[in-house]
Symmetry: C2
Subunit: 165 residues, 2 copies
């Protein structure tokens, strides 16, 4: 390594742009999972007393744009996973796509210096901006993995996990 | 911001230590999920033709230490998710704990400059070290989420998703 000092000060484990692409890649996969559900089962099907996948998606929508808006603006809002997005898959997908655009806009307002800042998201989740954003993605992967089991139980082939196109 | 230039060059979205803690936190949660399964169902129970949770754990064990060893040493190895770890939960947990220690050791040998390096893991997965390591964690969350559905279907309360202790 010819330029060790410079590398040490500028090297990044993950840039903000890479984090956004990681998040949006997962959101594209979740969108495919929503599309894979039959209309009725998206709203009604569940296993072991868990929520239908539509309810999990409501949680994801309640976290993404509201959470990121709060991080960017500093204005605390209430966490509400019971918002009404309609009663069709098409309406959920429309909202999903609107939020994709909104997340990209909000992310541009998030400077790299903010990621290590400690916040209290939705007035209750204390941690760094980083740990909160990691939670957004992790929580989506977690619930989407549950959606995969619903699809398999419905004899539907889910999208490949590695397909983020 | 009084020291903008310095902040811009030294600010990190995520440090290597934070990435390790994120990974090990998820591994601690996965360990709790393994513990939550009844002995027999860990090896036999499944939904929708999917693998039992023990088989998913074999995949996770095949990725973590072998993958990280390859990243650190540069020696390509074959991906093998069919290794034999025994036929009891206790044996799987013992291997899990050995790998926890091993991951910590290997991580110390991973300099920050390596994360953006492009590699071909297990001779087939091309991408940055970062994207490969993100996949390790994402894939674990994904399959563990499936394990949660198995537990719920077995009428067993899974650990809290946010509990990484």
């Amino acid at each position: 390594m010819e330029n060790t000092i410079n590398e040490q000060t500028t090297a990044q484990v993950m840039t903000p742009e890479q984090f956004l692409e990681q998040y949006q890649g997962h959101r594209r996969l979740t969108r495919k999972v929503i599309e894979s559900f039959p209309e009725k089962e998206f709203f009604n099907y569940s296993i072991g007393g868990m929520r239908p996948f539509s309810e999990m998606v409501k949680e994801l929508l309640a976290i993404a744009v509201p959470g990121l808006t709060e991080i960017v603006t500093g204005n605390t809002s209430e966490f509400d996973e019971n918002r009404d997005y309609g009663d069709t898959k098409a309406q959920f997908l429309e909202k999903w796509d609107q939020d994709t655009v909104e997340i990209n806009k909000l992310w541009k307002q998030l400077s790299i210096a903010r990621f290590q800042e400690v916040i209290k998201l939705f007035g209750q989740y204390e941690g760094t901006v980083l740990s909160n954003l990691l939670y957004f993605v992790d929580n989506e992967i977690h619930h989407r993995g549950q959606g995969y089991v619903y699809l398999r139980a419905l004899d539907i082939e889910p999208p490949f996990f590695y397909d983020r196109s």
